[in-house]
Symmetry: D2
Subunit: 440 residues, 4 copies
């Protein structure tokens, strides 16, 4: 197979609804990297290698030397928020990065000022920002389309990606208005409250053929209407919920236990965090969205129906606690009750002293750059190969998401190999996305 990927010429705009902890850590970090002050650790697109050919060939190029990715220096930042703080101010408030680092890129950060947000307070009661658009859903969607076009023009951009880093919205389930693009557009016109603000951004991007990534657990682009639109405008989409911290660890450890056929009868996960994200999640309705996202992973990895002796009685509980002393230094503690040979019991305790936004920023970067790559490679619709980065991966309808991070990695790597005409090494799964295959 030949490589038909278009080159990454010109500038790439990354437009972010939600200029909070994750977004400002991402932006400040890339600027610091561009000045040679820091390294983009945790980003496969910047630091990762990929094995090609046989083990004995010893071919391990950097990923960004293998596939044509946008250069960090070609990125132009923009975004929206319900607060009008510029990115420097927002980054200072977030208390993730130390002041001296922020000051070294102060000018760059100050120049990024949020546009007014498309917002509805019912979706995040703990927020009281006033830097918001007015009018109906349709008005707001149209304004967002204008915002994007202006941003592209003013900055002379070749391509754009939109990346949702906004707060977690309250929990709700799909309804009629989300089932088709016709119904959705009718809903916009009717100012239907069941259309979440995040969906307006997704709609605006997809209308313009611009890739959209969702870093939060809310549905957003994971509804039939917007999947339909993405296919129609040949646009890549990916979501939901950046996979970091405790869930990251879970999708590493659980496959290891399953690999060895060790039984699990209980998994208790607790988290303490004190940032604004934690504050929003202190509202039970918003927490519900997150909990659903976090609970699903073990089911899929352990497959209790297929392995009732090992996982049939597993009790899984996840707790998130707002705990101000820790700020963004989210910490998790897991107790895992396992059993082995003849049913004898053992326990694993994992205490992860992590930093939430430090883990999320490189994930956000990779998702943005890989979505842009996908677009140039002619891939559209759900990008399941990006599941590797997501707590609750969006899949083709009817297909269970894959949560095992090692299978996800294999899928990601083989997708890159496939794009570039290299031999595959493992389960690609492109067969589930015939349109993607056709397009290549």
């Amino acid at each position: 197979m030949e490589n038909n990927v278009k080159p990454a010429n010109g500038k790439l705009g990354i437009l972010i609804p939600g200029l909070g902890a994750v977004a400002t850590t991402l932006i400040a970090g890339v600027e610091a990297v561009n000045k040679g002050l820091s390294k983009p650790i945790g980003a496969l697109t910047q630091m990762g290698n990929i094995r090609l050919g046989k083990r004995t060939e010893n071919r391990y190029p950097k990923i960004n030397e293998f596939v044509p990715l946008a250069n960090l220096k070609d990125i132009v930042w923009g975004g929206w928020d319900v607060y009008s703080d510029n990115v420097y101010e927002a980054a200072v408030n977030a208390e993730v990065l130390e002041r001296s680092l922020l000051d070294s890129v102060k000018a760059e950060l100050e120049s990024v000022k949020p546009m007014k947000a498309a917002f509805d307070k019912n979706y995040a009661k703990n927020l009281d920002g006033t830097h918001v658009k007015t009018g109906t859903r349709l008005d707001m969607a149209n304004e967002l389309i204008e915002d994007i076009k202006n941003f592209q023009e003013q900055n002379g951009l070749d391509r754009i990606v939109v990346l949702w880093c906004g707060s977690t919205e309250v929990y709700f389930e799909e309804s009629e208005v989300h089932q088709s693009i016709v119904a959705f557009e009718q809903g916009l016109a009717n100012d239907d409250k069941l259309i979440a603000p995040s969906m307006l951004y997704a709609y605006a991007a997809l209308k313009l053929g611009i890739p959209f990534v969702n870093g939060a657990p809310n549905l957003t682009v994971d509804i039939p209407a917007l999947v339909e639109l993405a296919k129609y405008t040949e646009t890549p989409i990916a979501g939901k919920d950046f996979k970091t911290g405790q869930t990251l660890m879970k999708t590493i450890v659980a496959p290891g236990l399953a690999a060895r056929a060790l039984g699990v009868n209980g998994w208790f996960s607790t988290n303490i965090l004190g940032n604004r994200d934690g504050y929003v999640l202190d509202d039970p309705d918003n927490f519900k969205t997150k909990e659903v996202s976090k609970l699903s992973v073990l089911e899929e990895i352990f497959k209790p129906e297929a392995n009732p002796d090992l996982y049939g009685d597993m009790y899984h509980k996840v707790r998130i606690n707002y705990y101000p002393p820790h700020g963004d230094a989210k910490e998790s503690w897991d107790n895992i009750d396992i059993f082995g040979w003849l049913g004898y019991k053992m326990q694993i305790k994992i205490n992860f002293l992590c930093r939430d936004s430090i883990l999320a920023a490189p994930v956000a970067l990779d998702l943005a750059l890989f979505s842009d790559l996908a677009k140039r490679a002619g891939m559209s619709g759900v990008q399941e190969w990006l599941s590797f980065y997501l707590k609750s991966p969006q899949t083709a309808p009817g297909l269970a998401p894959e949560h095992d991070i090692f299978k996800q990695l294999t899928k990601l790597q083989n997708t890159l190999r496939h794009m570039m005409g290299e031999d595959l090494i493992t389960h690609l799964g492109l067969e589930y996305y015939q349109d993607v295959v056709d397009a290549m």
Copy 2:
């Protein structure tokens, strides 16, 4: 490809040098399973599934319904030890399984009495057993060959596997006498002290074309002389060191960190254990053998030369502490110092309250059954596809071992698929073992 594997007809003898904690837990467990009293949790050969075809085909047969494995009811046990306790007595001493379980299979266990060991106290100073063979190394080797033949005959066995579960021998490196089968046989005749007792068992097995597995970290079958013999007699071999506990966890977690390009600058591992294995390892010379086995895994997974920014400065320390209060309930504590985006530091602490022999027994069982399968499938020499079970996997000369447990699992599963003529899903690596491929 066609499936040419011979069926598992008749009885299978499993002969074990070293009837200690692991071996008695294995034997008692299989007997309890055969009586329907317990489940063989942790053994892929008994509990595991394998995916065949595409995800959407939903084909997940049990492994033992997919490949022709010996039935647990067809196993006949035997072994050697420097102590003359029968398996019931040895199991009671080991204090791994509760008395009531042992009593439910007492007759079966009492009937397994060790043959006299081929032993040399210099290889395990903390042992003072007297149930040992006398004479030169050559005498002992010949006696072992007779032991095996008699065992086969008396029990009417179709096939045999030899499984080293003896104590860890003192550390030493390869020398002249280990380089070729000619030199080795000359060494036997000369009673060369550099030939370890465990090598005598391996030699005896291989001479008879009987698969040999090494569950300890000592070299044993991992020397050119015995690899040569294995090829000559077309016999599968596998080693070294059952992968359990802390190292198991390490080869699960490290690939997860590497997958995400998270940096590591320190990994401290400490262990407390109070069984006889721990007592033998309290001797620094024997510990050295174990330490070497345990230290190598991170190097290979993180590849510091290829990723100097992430793993170039990693400090890795492993400590094993003899701590009688815990008996066989080995416990490990790991502190992992990682760094992410822009070099920000995070920490992971893992406390594994495990049971050493409970984890080792199913590994020993799988290795025995898969070695027997390999023999019937016409595979010989080093069985790298069994790396999944080993801390320090033996490989083809010049080939670095693979420690990532998920790659090891893929390799194991694809080897099974390959054997049975199913489509592969991932990196098989049989290319490194041309003889195996030829044989199929």
Copy 3:
């Protein structure tokens, strides 16, 4: 001073409302100890020493050789429960002690059958027992008085103690009916729903001059009406809430930090437990009672008003999670955020793998035996010297409870020394209880 304590002649009845996990572990344990099968570890009355005189005198008698305590062999058990299971059956259900131990005292346990409970389902909605008394509160109280008298007579008892080991009742605060014995007795007659079932047992005991101990966090005997009655009938009372597990650890560690003037800005405590107690506490109203009991301890030990620089900003959060896989093996995890010299931050993590009822049973025993001692020593009303055993110690009105376990221990020991006419070693605090002093 002279020792005027009456000897512990004859039999002592211990009557327990609530024959659940704690009570059955206590009863089975004492019976096993009486048969010489086990040791009463954790009970100061059985295992503890006390220092007398100067360090150099080397006088460390056993406590039960120093003060005249009832002998374990002289105890006769009885109780009430809403379920009709005898103590053997209840102990089997509780799954605290292993079956073989219970079987060794089966006859003794089976002979203890609960009397019908004074109960009101509004106080514990998750319970559905039907072995209950009917009629008004006054009827029930009178029946309890009869129950106690009959028990005394039928068993030829010299003395009795009543020990509440019933479920935690729902949270409510003191109201009018609890303010005086007159109001309380009026309330009984009116069947006032604000009188909790546990208060009926306390009332019955105190009317008869029988010491009453409350092992749960509900108010029970900690209301003015019953304190008044206790003084009037010269009866010792003690409560609330057995101090075990996480709170025990907290009242050990917190005084240590305070001793060294180390600051604390956060303390997060989480618990997982899966027994019936945990199930009752899964109801938010019942949890509230427990939470209030657990939260108070740090305030008192750290005295934030007196030490604002060190403890003024302390954030304290306690979570209890019902987690069936652990049964009675309650487990706690604490994260403590401290700061030292110049405000530099440090952290302490404590993971206590405890067994709830194993910790509570000896506490219950000591409280029963020491209350009986107090009665014989002529002490009445609130026994603050027993704070050592209680999460939420009842004190003289207007006096803050002391939570520092080391000060509590000193108080307990000095009370014993004082009783027996030995030199005090430290802060006795009897001055707050003039009646006690008068009585001596």
Copy 4:
């Protein structure tokens, strides 16, 4: 009793052999506090309160308002080291305090330059400093006396204290030369290698009647010769080994377990640290000194001979691991195997992420200020009331040290009350030090 303590007029010199991590953290901290930049958290002399009278009197003065202590602003610093770095440079190397804090007191720190050390490389092989005195032990001692006198004169000091913060010296036991002051002075003249360098500093101080404190575990002032000299010159002495980190936690938790008569059958303690102290302790001879200091504490608290059922089989193991990634952020992990009612087993795990020098600096400060106070109060010889701060407290000959931190605290507080003529609250223990009592 009357208060005869002399006031703290004029300047106090604190002279420190060993200007490493602890000393520089102490000096920089006091200077920062004096500038109002930071708070002296962890120092009882600065932050602590003391209760006077009855609980109801509510008298809790600050300790430094209750006893006449030197003011931090009146301290003048000096010291010796084998490296010639000034305190600013040494503090930067130590990597304990952040650079910005050090820079805010740079001038003050740079002005403190070490005098040449009295040193012998056999006592700390991992050190290679050359800023050392030459000549015999007698020469060096005399030079130290001159150093001290000059320092006093040049700075116009009222009083001086000498505080050993030097590296841990190799392990050795008392011998002839340490038994009397006569033998010792003879040894000086003979340049006897059994006289450790640290003893030279102690000798010099005591000759001049200057209080000497030993923060390391080496014998130093804990030998009969120097105790004799201290009495003769009426000088207070205190040692050994600042109590911080893991041992601090141990002497908090162990008394709590003992208080409740909970049994202990194992206590495993491991430490990881990467500072220069850790590097010196990587030499087994130096580690031995530390190990002896750390092992003793549990014995004394649990008294296994008096409590054989509870502590007779306790296995105690302490490991220290040099682990560079952690620098001064020493971390400890303890596994405690306990048992309760009927022998049922439980476990406690404590993970202390501490900062070694941050914990040690306030301890060093308190010891210096309290020693100066003792001198002015007319107390001389061993100051057992300072045991509170020490891992291996020096006591009167024949008297076992008290390790329980709560008893130590009571002793400390009562000594202060006693000094000031207040009522005692608990065990004073002055009876063991008749000379002290006489002197008051």
